[in-house]
């Protein structure tokens, strides 16, 4: 297999294909007639997924360096190069994206009725943006894809959404953009600092990694970057856009939003926050606040989720609870914690993605999301009920499903460095059951009393094809997570060692306010080719 890949030097064009093929597909879909666009979009996403599969075997878990990396000059005077690369952290997030996308497109065949062509074009543009964010190694390119991703999501929520879709779309857009603007300022600050020290501009991830920052600078930049990612995660106080966005978004929109977009925040913490600002990310006060928000995310949103009348809003709050575990795992700064965070992100993608697809199918049947409108459906739709219960169990972290592995690892990781935080976090397990089981019972069990519920059709073949891979993923990650853990092992250990080294012996401390003579030429930087 690897021989074949070397033969077509897969490593060279793989990432480019993954990023730009959906864009090409988008134009294809826009030009295709209305009826064909649906199937064409499915073909494009399937090809994208098939091409992305070899990434895993071809990925060499031994080294932590960026693989499949290529660099092309873009805006040379400003040091902006088109740099892309993949390592343990971003490998599975890319695979999650390409895995979820065809399922979402297939899942939305019957859901989206008006203006299908533009809808599928938006989905493909979204895929380009997401894959771009995960593989970009040039902060400018990263920021560009970060913003590109917002636009299609805004339209998906805004056009095909529910009643308050405009409000939700605007809120989503403004919330995220507000955060990312601060991030842009932080990026520029670092670039100019780099220029001050070495005389040329560079947006490269590895170059900016070597920029020495005083403790105060790190705190401010940490806050700037952190806010952008905290909004995206979403971390506790910045989460209010998520329930609105989910309730109003069409099913495929909220599947992508939940399964992939939320991972941007976690990815951002891992890729940018920890390595760039080691002192800040280990400062007791800052970490304390973030962990407190994470805990609030787990406990508070679980409680709020339990009393939601609308099923989709309930699941939206549960995503905030899940991502609370991610934050806990990341800021524990232990191997188990980070790997646990990775697994929670993957399992959340599968389980919450599946849950939204299921709720979408329920919506297709009864055109309502109120939990009270259902009751006793298990008698009418046994297969639907089975898949729903499996997904619910995976999302509350029943051992043997993917949820447990992730939560258990991140709790263990957090316990090693912050025992009390892990203790409170573990109670999230109880509240998970507290919000999920009543919902399952009110929808599936209890008496089948409403007449319109008595004739609902069970899962169609298409729906089974959409759900089967997701359920398989949940069981697979739960029963045999070894391949996922091994692939991320070295990258995460490398990340932790760099954070540890730079925390103890930071590079020479030259603040911007140091006299120019002292600054010039002090920093010898191994410029990336």
């Amino acid at each position: 297999m690897n021989v074949f890949l070397e033969h077509i030097h897969f490593a060279g064009w793989a990432l480019h294909f993954l990023i730009w093929f959906p864009l090409v597909g988008m134009f294809g879909v826009l030009l295709a007639p209305e009826a064909v666009s649906k199937r064409l979009a499915l073909v494009v996403t399937l090809v994208e997924f098939i091409v992305s599969i070899p990434l895993w075997p071809a990925f060499n878990p031994a080294t932590a360096a960026f693989q499949f990396a290529t660099t092309m000059p873009w805006i040379r005077p400003w040091g902006i190069y088109y740099r892309v690369g993949l390592d343990g952290i971003s490998l599975f997030l890319v695979l999650l994206t390409t895995f979820i996308m065809p399922l979402t497109v297939l899942g939305s065949f019957r859901y989206i009725t008006k203006r299908e062509r533009t809808f599928y074009a938006m989905m493909l543009l979204l895929e380009t943006g997401i894959v771009g964010v995960f593989v970009a190694l040039d902060l400018f390119l990263f920021f560009m894809f970060w913003e590109v991703m917002l636009v299609p999501m805004y339209f998906i929520i805004g056009i095909w959404g529910g009643e308050r879709r405009v409000y939700a779309a605007i809120k989503f857009f403004l919330y995220t953009t507000f955060g990312s603007l601060l991030m842009l300022v932080a990026i520029l600050y670092m670039v100019f600092k780099f220029h001050a020290l070495t005389g040329e501009y560079s947006f490269a991830y590895l170059d900016l990694l070597q920029v020495p920052l005083t403790y105060r600078e790190q705190i401010w930049l940490f806050l700037a970057f952190g806010l952008a990612f905290a909004i995206k995660v979403p971390l506790f106080p910045f989460h209010t856009w998520l329930p609105d966005a989910h309730v109003e978004a069409p099913t495929p929109g909220s599947v992508i939003l939940a399964a992939v977009l939320l991972k941007m925040g976690g990815y951002g913490f891992l890729r940018f926050l920890l390595p760039f600002f080691p002192q800040a990310s280990t400062a007791p006060l800052l970490v304390g606040i973030v962990l407190a928000f994470g805990l609030a995310g787990i406990i508070y949103t679980a409680w709020v989720a339990a009393v939601q009348p609308d099923a989709k809003k309930l699941i939206a709050y549960t995503s905030v609870a899940h991502m609370g575990f991610v934050v806990l795992g990341i800021f524990a700064l232990t191997v188990q914690g980070l790997q646990g965070a990775m697994i929670v992100m993957l399992s959340h993608g599968a389980s919450t993605g599946a849950m939204f697809l299921l709720l979408g199918m329920l919506y297709e049947r009864r055109h309502t999301r109120e939990i009270a409108a259902f009751g006793g459906l298990a008698a009418v739709m046994p297969l639907f009920a089975t898949v729903f219960v499996i997904t619910a169990l995976a999302s509350i972290g029943l051992p043997g499903t993917s949820g447990f592995v992730g939560e258990f690892l991140s709790l263990i990781g957090t316990f090693l460095t912050h025992p009390w935080v892990a203790l409170i976090g573990a109670s999230g397990v109880i509240f998970a059951a507290y919000y999920m089981l009543p919902m399952v019972q009110r929808i599936w069990f209890n008496a089948l009393d409403k007449p319109e519920n008595q004739t609902l059709p069970d899962l169609s073949r298409r729906e089974i094809v959409v759900l089967a891979p997701l359920v398989a993923a949940m069981i697979w990650i739960g029963v045999y997570p070894k391949p996922f853990l091994d692939a991320t092992q070295t990258s995460i250990e490398e990340l932790l060692t760099t954070v540890e080294q730079r925390r103890i012996a930071p590079p020479p401390m030259i603040g911007l306010d140091a006299p120019p003579a002292a600054r010039a030429g002090r920093l010898v930087v191994a410029r990336q080719p």
Binding site: V304, Q336, L398, I412, K482, Q489
Partner: protein, 678 residues
């Protein structure tokens, strides 16, 4: 020569295969009952056979250390290497035999009991899945793998309790069971976190090897770990704080109650305490707590059992009480006594539950014919059933005598063993505590005998309270249901003879049974480490009970109590004039407090459930929508709109205002040009 485990993974995976097959049938063709009828019990039977083969292999070779059957690496993350492998030693072997053995009998029984139910295939799928998770729990070689089984059985009990999910009561009972179990599992998870943090591993072998050095005797850490583990045990084995789900779990089919809520799942907590005996031995405070809660539960549940009218509720509280006994046993450090009672209890409690299932089944068919809406489970509607259900009557009496602790039956030996161990170990720091527990255990034994006799008298003796047109519809249950009853009755008698204490063996009348203390020696390799620690830190066992008298004497006393109580109870109960449930008056005074289960459910509801829901609603409305959404997010929007509005007010459209603005401009201009004007 060393012991060679054979096909151990098959024991575990066969029930899973059964689950898959039955599951597919349940979804695809639920009406085809032949498949689950064969696959369901057959899968368990094969597992039982393989277990027997391994058991005899183990008997022959008698391995000193546990045998690890390798599987695959489950979670390799940095220093945490969790192996998915099975551990076969004397303790897990015994538990596997009980699970597969009693499980098989109950599967057989279910064929008869559930044949009329249209969810037949689904039932067998769930019950097979349950046996799979229970075996995984018992055979797991590390804490996380045990936890997979731990929550898996919780899931299956959730599915099986809420089996007839169309009834809201059943679905609620299932939900309650799962959430209460989850609270216990929280304790288990925290314990696992602490164990890993202190010993660097989670597999039993290395944790117990490292335990004596990693923890100081009676230290805070090991006490915390054991208490959290015990919190998990109380959740799963329905002890004082978290027992409320078990009585409600009677909403499920009776074989489920027999298998899950009597024989296997609820004993998981006792097994876990026995398995982690080393940790508990290192924490005397935890031992006191475990034994204390055990004794308290035994007494408390027995009192409630006295006043219940639903036959399954009585048995449920009896189970909670007997579990209390087991925890007293393992709590005081007598692990083999605890496990011995666990085994005998599995036999006679399964027998009693299946017997009550037979009674309910018969009553249901009778009431079904005449469509009279009487409760088929309420003892006040029964009476005089001995003429119609002879086999059930005899086997139920065997079970009652066993549980009451009458001489030749299993209960006598296992319960007496525990009572004696409590008395013997009431030395050194435990003197006061264990003496108290010993007295409570004796009183609970008396109450057990009383409520079981009350159950038998009300159900089988006296004259039938059923109207006569139902009476002639009452007939004995089919063979597939009473054969397991007979087998379990035999086991309820023989089961006790495998571990007859030496002291009793030497007594005149009571000594006629073959005595070998076989089980104690059988479990020696497993409990050796824990006993070594206890021997090192505690004074030797005393030969006499706190108020004098040897083991033999107190065995005689408890036997006498049991017989006396049965005689008195039957006299008292048969004289009481019971009327059918609908006409009989509601219980009053103290009996009502007992009948309403000391109002524990209402207290929990008021103190925990409702405040949490109210707090959630408050949080959502005020914090999420109010503070964050309202003030901060929409607030910012409103603020910008307000500034815009204020700006627009300035544009009055009249020239004067603009002229005025110009004038102000001029003035400021002057001030700027001639700063020294004032």
């Amino acid at each position: 020569m060393t012991f060679e485990p054979t096909l151990v993974w098959a024991i575990v995976l066969l029930p899973l295969l059964g689950f898959v097959v039955n599951g597919v049938v349940a979804l695809a063709a639920p009406e085809r009952k032949i498949v689950p009828t064969i696959v369901g019990p057959a899968v368990i039977a094969i597992s039982f056979a393989i277990a027997l083969v391994n058991f005899f292999g183990m008997l022959r070779t008698g391995p000193e250390t546990a045998v690890i059957v390798p599987g695959y690496t489950w979670i390799p993350s940095g220093s945490l290497q969790v192996e998915a492998s099975l551990q076969l030693d004397q303790l897990s072997m015994l538990m596997t035999l009980i699970i597969t053995g009693v499980g098989f009998l109950i599967h057989l029984y279910s064929v008869g009991y559930m044949h009329a139910d249209k969810g037949y295939a689904r039932y067998f799928a769930y019950i097979n899945l349950f046996v799979f998770f229970m075996l995984l729990l018992v055979l797991g070689s590390s804490f996380p793998l045990m936890f997979v089984g731990w929550e898996g059985v919780g899931l299956c009990s959730y599915l099986l309790i809420g089996f007839w999910y169309t009834g809201k009561v059943n679905a609620d009972a299932g939900k309650k069971a799962f959430i209460v179990n989850r609270i216990g599992d929280f304790g288990f998870i925290v314990a696992m976190l602490m164990i890993f943090a202190n010993t660097g591993s989670l597999s039993f072998q290395s944790v117990f090897a490292a335990a004596p050095s990693a923890f100081t005797y009676g230290g805070a850490v090991v006490t915390a770990i054991t208490l959290f583990l015990f919190l998990g045990a109380t959740g799963k084995s329905a002890q004082i704080p978290l027992y409320v789900w078990l009585p409600d779990a009677m909403a499920g089919p009776t074989p489920v109650s027999a298998l899950i809520h009597a024989a296997t799942m609820v004993t998981a907590g006792v097994y876990m305490v026995a398995r982690t005996g080393v940790l508990f031995a290192l924490a005397p405070v935890s031992m006191i707590v475990v034994a204390g809660i055990g004794a308290l539960t035994a007494l408390f549940a027995a009192t409630i059992g006295l006043a219940q009218y639903d036959i399954k509720k009585v048995l449920a509280y009896s189970t909670v009480s007997q579990l209390g006994y087991m925890f007293v046993g393992v709590g005081v450090g007598a692990y083999s006594a605890g496990i011995f009672h666990l085994m005998t209890h599995a036999f006679f409690k399964a027998l009693l539950f299946l017997g009550s299932g037979a009674v309910i089944h018969a009553m249901h068919e009778a009431l079904h014919h005449t469509h009279r809406d009487w409760d088929a489970q309420d003892m006040r509607n029964m009476g005089g059933l001995r003429r119609y259900l002879p086999i059930t009557f005899v086997t139920m009496w065997v079970g009652t005598l066993a549980i009451a602790g009458v001489w030749p039956f299993a209960g006598f030996f296992s319960k007496d063993e525990i009572i004696w161990q409590v008395a013997a170990r009431a030395v050194g720091p435990f003197r006061g505590w264990f003496t108290l527990y010993w007295v409570m255990a004796l009183v609970a034994a008396l109450l057990t005998a009383f409520y079981m006799t009350r159950l038998m008298i009300m159900t089988f003796h006296g004259k039938s309270r059923l109207p006569d047109e139902e009476r002639h519809h009452l007939h004995e249950v089919p063979w597939v249901m009473y054969v397991p009853l007979v087998l379990l009755a035999v086991l309820s008698v023989l089961g006790g003879w495998i571990n007859v204490p030496a002291a009793i063996g030497r007594m005149p009348v009571l000594g006629w049974v073959p005595h070998a203390e076989w089980l104690h020696h059988w479990l020696e390799p497993v409990t050796a480490a824990a006993e070594r620690i206890q021997a090192a830190n505690l004074p030797a066992l005393s030969e006499t009970a706190p108020f004098g008298g040897g083991e033999a004497l107190w065995a005689l006393v408890s036997f006498a109590i049991a017989v006396a109580t049965i005689v008195i109870a039957s006299a008292v109960i048969s004289r009481v004039e019971y009327r059918p449930a609908l006409e009989s008056a509601a219980p009053a005074g103290f009996r009502r407090v007992l009948f309403r289960k000391w109002y524990v459910d209402e207290i929990y509801d008021a103190l925990v459930v409702r405040p949490v829901i109210r707090a959630s609603r408050w949080l959502w409305r005020w914090i999420d929508q109010g503070l964050i959404d309202g003030v901060l997010v929409n607030g910012a929007a409103r603020l910008s709109r307000m500034v815009g509005w204020f700006g627009s007010r300035l544009q009055t459209g009249q020239i004067n205002t603009y002229a005025f603005a110009v004038v102000l401009g001029v003035i400021f201009l002057f001030l700027f040009v001639f700063p020294r004007l004032f």
